[in-house]
């Protein structure tokens, strides 16, 4: 590499930015380089590179023995991942859409998640189950769900939900290195795909070397003192946009907590923030009732409800299937408008 030197001091190379999809792939690739027992399995993961680009380029780098297209047999290939993991491999298995879990959930929650416990810790299942989540591009009821509440609810599997490229890579590396089953849930809207609506925070600096982002630790995406917004995934982007606007227009400073992991859940981070601000807004693109948002509210209520100066607010998908018509889908998703309205009401309460 030759660098043309100018009369002034040499320029620094630009910080390297990647989309979330490319960052995820880099995480997988670096682990595959380091550890020959890592293989990738799923539908359309080989030549196609994953329909949401989660495995793009891996086939060319590692070949068909390690990047493997499966038939449409989720029960079989997820179960195959379990058996391979039990015998010393580290499979990364893709469930194309999280909405498809219905056809294979037994292998996931009754086997992958329970074998370690049932065996008194004698058998490990070091496997990553990665899956695409989320709506906002009119894919309707069966292809737009988030469902992390469902997975987080069932004991025995870790659940990580990155919101940005750097965390996507670090959490993938941590997930592969973890000796436990980790469900890695990536929102299609944060992947930075050229064929979906643009989202500025989907492209961001990513360190080139391998690194681990700790599973079970939330990150403070933005500091503030007037109210706490606890959220995950694409909603982090929306919450940050709302926070910028609230600061500029109303001088209100929101603190945004990006949970990053649901299992284990960083309850301490939530409590520390609410203790500071006294106001809590949970934004969750999963269904409202019986899920993540209720869990966050309960965490505060059962620790010290006196922390709260106003009732907890939740902006989630209401308990309806996600509609096709754009006007209806927009009405149910946790959009910036809904978040802004809730945040304004929260700080005035």
């Amino acid at each position: 590499m030759s660098v043309t030197e100018s009369a002034t001091a040499p320029a620094e190379p630009a910080v390297r930015r990647l989309t979330t999809a490319r960052a995820m792939v880099e995480g997988i690739a670096q682990e595959m380089e380091r550890d020959a027992s890592v293989v990738v399995l799923g539908e359309d993961v080989a030549k196609y590179g994953g329909i949401f680009s989660s495995t793009a380029g891996l086939l060319d780098k590692f070949g068909p023995q390690r990047v493997i297209d499966t038939p449409i047999s989720e029960t079989a290939f997820i179960g195959l991942g379990i058996g391979a993991a039990v015998e010393g491999m580290r499979p990364v298995v893709e469930l194309m859409f999280v909405d498809f879990f219905g056809v294979c959930m037994d292998q996931i929650y009754n086997h992958m998640a329970k074998i370690h416990f049932e065996s008194g810790g004698n058998v490990r299942v070091p496997m990553v189950l990665m899956t695409a989540t989320g709506g906002g591009y009119s894919d309707a009821e069966q292809h737009s769900q988030c469902l992390w509440g469902t997975f987080a609810h069932l004991p025995g599997m870790k659940v990580v939900v990155p919101s940005n490229p750097a965390d996507a890579k670090g959490l993938m590396i941590s997930a592969i290195r973890d000796d436990n089953p980790v469900v890695y849930m990536f929102h299609k809207g944060i992947m930075g795909l050229p064929w979906m609506a643009k989202n500025a925070r989907s492209i961001a600096p990513v360190p080139p070397e391998p690194y681990e982002t700790p599973i079970g630790k939330a990150s403070i995406a933005r500091e503030g003192s007037d109210a706490t917004v606890v959220t995950v995934s694409l909603s982090v982007h929306h919450a940050l946009d709302v926070a910028d606007q609230m600061s500029a227009e109303h001088g209100v400073e929101l603190e945004v907590i990006d949970l990053r992991s649901l299992v284990p859940l960083d309850r301490e981070a939530v409590l520390a923030s609410v203790a500071k601000t006294g106001r809590l807004l949970v934004v969750d693109e999963d269904y409202q009732s019986f899920g993540l948002s209720g869990e966050i509210a309960a965490t505060v209520a059962e620790t010290d409800p006196g922390m709260l100066r106003a009732p907890v607010r939740r902006v989630a998908v209401p308990d309806v299937p996600i509609p096709y018509a754009r006007s209806l889908e927009t009405a149910v998703l946790p959009t910036r408008e809904r978040i802004m309205t809730a945040a304004r009401e929260l700080v005035r309460a």
């Binding site: 179960g79 491999m89 074998i115």
Partner: protein
Amino acid sequence: MDDKTRLELYRVMVLSRTYEEAILREYHADKKPAFDIGAGLVPGEMHLSAGQEPAAAGVCAHLRRDDAVTATHRPHHIAIAHGVDLDKMTAEIFGRETGLGRGRGGHMHLFDPQTHFSCSGIVAEGLPPATGQAFAFQRQGSDRVAVAFTGEGAANQGAFHESLNLAALWNLPVVFVIEDNEWAISVPRGASTAIGSNADRAAAYGIPGQRIEDNDVEAVYTAAGDAVARARAGEGPTLIEVHTVRLWGHFEGDAQGYRPELADVPGRDPIPAYEARLTDAGILSAGLVTSIKDEAVARVEKAIDFAKSSPVPAPETALEYVFA
């Protein structure tokens, strides 16, 4: 088949039956006068394998300790035939801290990493992980094989079909063994399965399939020998269906009112039949039979004593072992 092999098949079947008779005794001992499933030293469901010993003995005779086996809710005969530690298995069935799973799994969730044995209470769902173990063995370049046992009722579950297709497609070293004991709890095979023999389903996946009649341990041994050899040689999966007999209920406490031929069932016991066959062949004598049975009883009672004298897991440890 040489005499030594035949005698060993008999010995394994006797050990297995002796074990099930002891568990039967222990299970019911403290559930009287009326059956209470949650009572006693071995509470919960209990699915015993009396009558099905030939399938386990005939197949597992060809396996090494490092071959993998997955089984179902009725696992004891298979575990014994594959060499799972009897003391730790019994302690697990009794829910003790010294059990295979420290008491966390119980009789339907026995995991022995030493022999790569596991079982699950969800029928047919042990087939996909077995194909995964076979996948790992193939990738690791060894000649190890995986064997997945399931029932004829489970052969209608999606996991069965998906697993056969995937194993065939990827030429995995796995043997699928169906124990056709004619009853899926209370539903006879003819009321659940569209075709007469599950072995015929193998053709749908392009793999060899064979059905063994008469619960014949030596026929199982021969068929399994071929299947395991094929798998070790990299020739892919095989399906074997063994027509066997469930001498007792689906679970203990099952009155079997749905089973019209109940009076004839004890006459189909494969062990006295095999004993007679080996006696006629001069391989067994009355004295040898007695000594084999006494040895089995001693071994089994030792395991039961070990279990009963082992500690119960402390409630404070209930949340442990979720994650590594």
